[in-house]
């Protein structure tokens, strides 16, 4: 288990402030945040490349705050692989084994030949595990991005680390390789039980890989939770905006009956983000909420939770969804299989290309934007 207690560090233009965090053994933990949030610095502090100005870092209950990296048994993988260019793939992988085994064999008074054989066996094993045996004799410069990243993973795994730290490991890869490596990483985590701490700014990557996600902004952890919690129930307007909740409204609860709140959206006092909806002032949203009458709240609705229809008849004349808003389509943007539909009132919906085709949606059309009260998440402002 990794435990950070009030860790702060200032380094060049980056800083992290008072971070307290617990990462469980065997967990796939993702640190999600925008560029410059201090994610890499946090990872490098766990690895021991820097020491904190304040706070403690405990690994498996042992205080490792000021232990050098070579004593932590933590594998580290950078976005741009950092394979040693002067060594072949197999020598890259054997690097850590040679460094670690020298001391151990000396202590155990074992032969150099035995040591070499053990290293060769281990190198072969990790090469096979990642399906890259054929690259063994190649130099890093002759490999593709995906191959280099696999070698970097193999090199880190060869030392059998208890923790694997991954700094944006998939960012520089194409879509197909990214998907394959994502599966590899998840498999390695499940099969080998290695604790993974993965830093990314990519929400899809975080959602697909993480057992838990920590959202990091301006050097602070602002929310920790499962991907469902982070993406459906962001703790602030800023997080909501970052995790892709494009529909953010501010309003006041006018009634709350058994947890179903009726929220009057403020005419001008919306959440203030560029993508926030701008209602005319007469709209009301129903949301499942704990907040009572008179409470000022922000309401978040994910664009993929909004359904579009030309008329209520499209739903057989009725719908269980409590929110039905009449809007005019301002812009339709194709994103491959999905289509982003922006309404003139600022509301954004993410629907399938098939649905757009079926409903024959065009810019300027009037549509109904429909979403359930459970899809609207509220937080007190």
């Amino acid at each position: 288990m990794i435990e950070l207690r009030g860790v702060s560090k200032r380094w060049r233009e980056f800083s992290i402030k008072n971070i307290t965090l617990e990462i469980k053994k065997g967990e796939y933990f993702v640190i999600l945040g925008p560029t410059g949030a201090g994610k890499t610095l946090l990872l490098e502090l766990i690895a021991g490349f820097h020491f904190p100005d304040e706070g403690r870092i405990l690994i498996d209950g042992r205080d490792m705050t000021f232990s050098p990296p070579e004593e932590r048994n933590i594998g580290f993988i950078y976005q741009d692989y950092m394979l040693f260019p002067h060594l072949t793939v197999e020598k890259n992988i054997a690097f850590g084994l040679r460094a670690r085994q020298r001391g151990r064999f000396k202590r155990e008074k074992r032969e150099g030949r035995e040591r070499r054989e053990e290293i060769e066996r281990k190198v072969k094993e990790v090469l096979q595990m990642l399906g890259i045996e054929h690259l063994a004799k190649r130099r890093p410069a002759t490999l593709s991005g995906g191959e280099q990243q696999k070698v970097a993973i193999a090199r880190a795994l060869a030392i059998e680390p208890r923790i694997l730290l991954l700094d944006e490991p998939l960012s520089a890869l194409d879509m197909r390789t990214k998907e394959q490596l994502r599966e590899d990483l998840r498999r390695l985590n499940r099969e080998n039980g290695i604790t993974m701490v993965h830093v990314t700014h990519d929400q899809t990557e975080a959602a697909m890989l993480a057992d838990r996600i920590a959202v990091m902004m301006r050097g602070r952890i602002v929310q920790i939770g499962t991907s469902r919690e982070i993406f459906s129930r962001p703790a602030s307007a800023e997080i909501a905006e970052f995790v892709g909740v494009e529909n953010i409204f501010s309003g006041v609860v006018v009634r709350n009956e058994g947890g179903l709140a009726e929220i009057k959206i403020a005419s001008a006092g919306l959440a203030g983000s560029a993508g926030s909806a701008a209602f005319s002032g007469s709209e009301t949203i129903f949301a499942v909420s704990k907040y009572g009458e008179g409470t000022a709240v922000n309401v978040f609705v994910r664009p993929e939770d909004i359904i579009l229809a030309k008329s209520i008849q499209d739903f057989g004349g009725s719908s269980s969804a409590r929110n039905v808003i009449r809007c005019e389509i301002e812009r339709i943007t194709s994103m491959g299989a999905l289509v982003r539909v922006r309404m003139r009132n600022g509301l954004v919906a993410l629907v399938t290309a098939h649905a757009v085709e079926e409903l024959r949606l065009r810019e300027g059309d009037e549509v109904l934007a429909i979403f359930k009260a459970t899809a609207a998440h509220t937080i007190k402002t």
């Binding site: 070579e70 932590r72 670690r100």
Partner: protein, 263 residues
């Protein structure tokens, strides 16, 4: 087309400097080629061969010392930011700025028989004034900045994240340096060593002041020139340049090979 124009202009202007070197050295070789027997005579002259050997061995010793002490200094300067760093960097480059005759006088004052360092070291059996060690000291003083500057740039080009990864894999700082950082910086280090050696072997003024004996090649050439004229000095000069060029080209090839194996 515009790009080509700028290349043509660059080559046209650059060729001026190439021609400058080629004309100066080429003329000397051409003149000497007309009197090949004098060159053969010089190649057989024990004094000439001894002087060239002294120059080569002293320059090699100076380069080795620059390498041993300059490599850690260059690494430190490349990796660490600290108050007064620019002052240290300035001190390293001072020998490049001052006239070498001045450097010779400064060194003489320190390393002569009665100098601050010369006197105690002489008592320990290490003499500098008019001794091989004096030639090495003079050469080292004027040439080590070239090594340190080149090695520093080489270390700067090695991404510190390579070192981070190596250490996370279990390598100590020392092992990381010798197995990762140094090999990756080696093309610049080799290049710096070649420049350092070249500068050392060509040093005349500082060597003349501190240790005109035993005769190093430039001192011998100067002596023959002032005593017997151009005809006597030129064969020795041509011989020295030929040997230096040969060594220089071989070392450059070695450096290029080392550089390409890092890719």
């Amino acid at each position: 087309m515009k790009r080509e124009k700028i290349f043509i202009l660059s080559l046209f202007l650059g060729i001026f400097l190439i021609a400058f070197v080629c004309i100066a050295l080429g003329n000397m070789f051409y003149t000497q080629a007309k009197d090949i027997s004098a060159l053969i005579e010089a190649a057989k002259d024990a004094n000439v061969l001894k002087a060239i050997w002294i120059s080569i061995s002293a320059a090699s010793t100076a380069t080795l010392i620059a390498f041993i002490f300059g490599t850690p200094l260059a690494y430190f300067l490349a990796r660490k930011e600290f108050f007064g760093k620019s002052v240290i960097e300035g001190i390293v480059d001072v020998p490049l700025m001052i006239p070498h005759i001045v450097a010779g006088i400064a060194l003489y004052a320190v390393f002569m028989r009665y100098g601050v360092l010369g006197a105690p070291l002489q008592r320990l059996g290490l003499a500098f004034q008019d001794a091989f060690a004096g030639i090495v000291v003079a050469m080292l003083f004027v040439s080590f900045p070239l090594f340190v500057d080149a090695a520093k740039e080489g270390f700067k080009q090695v991404d510190p994240r390579f070192e981070n990864v190596a250490r996370s894999l279990g390598a100590s700082q020392l092992r990381t340096f010798f197995e990762v950082t140094f090999p990756l910086a080696s093309p610049s280090i080799i290049s710096g060593a070649i420049m350092c050696w070249g500068r050392a072997i060509s040093e005349f003024s500082a060597v003349l002041v501190l240790a005109s004996f035993p005769r190093s090649a430039p001192v011998l050439i100067y002596e023959r020139f002032t005593s017997y004229g151009l005809k006597a000095a030129m064969p020795v000069a041509v011989l020295l340049i030929s040997i230096c060029l040969l060594i220089f080209v071989l070392l450059r090839l070695l450096g290029t090979k080392a550089g390409s194996s890092k890719k």
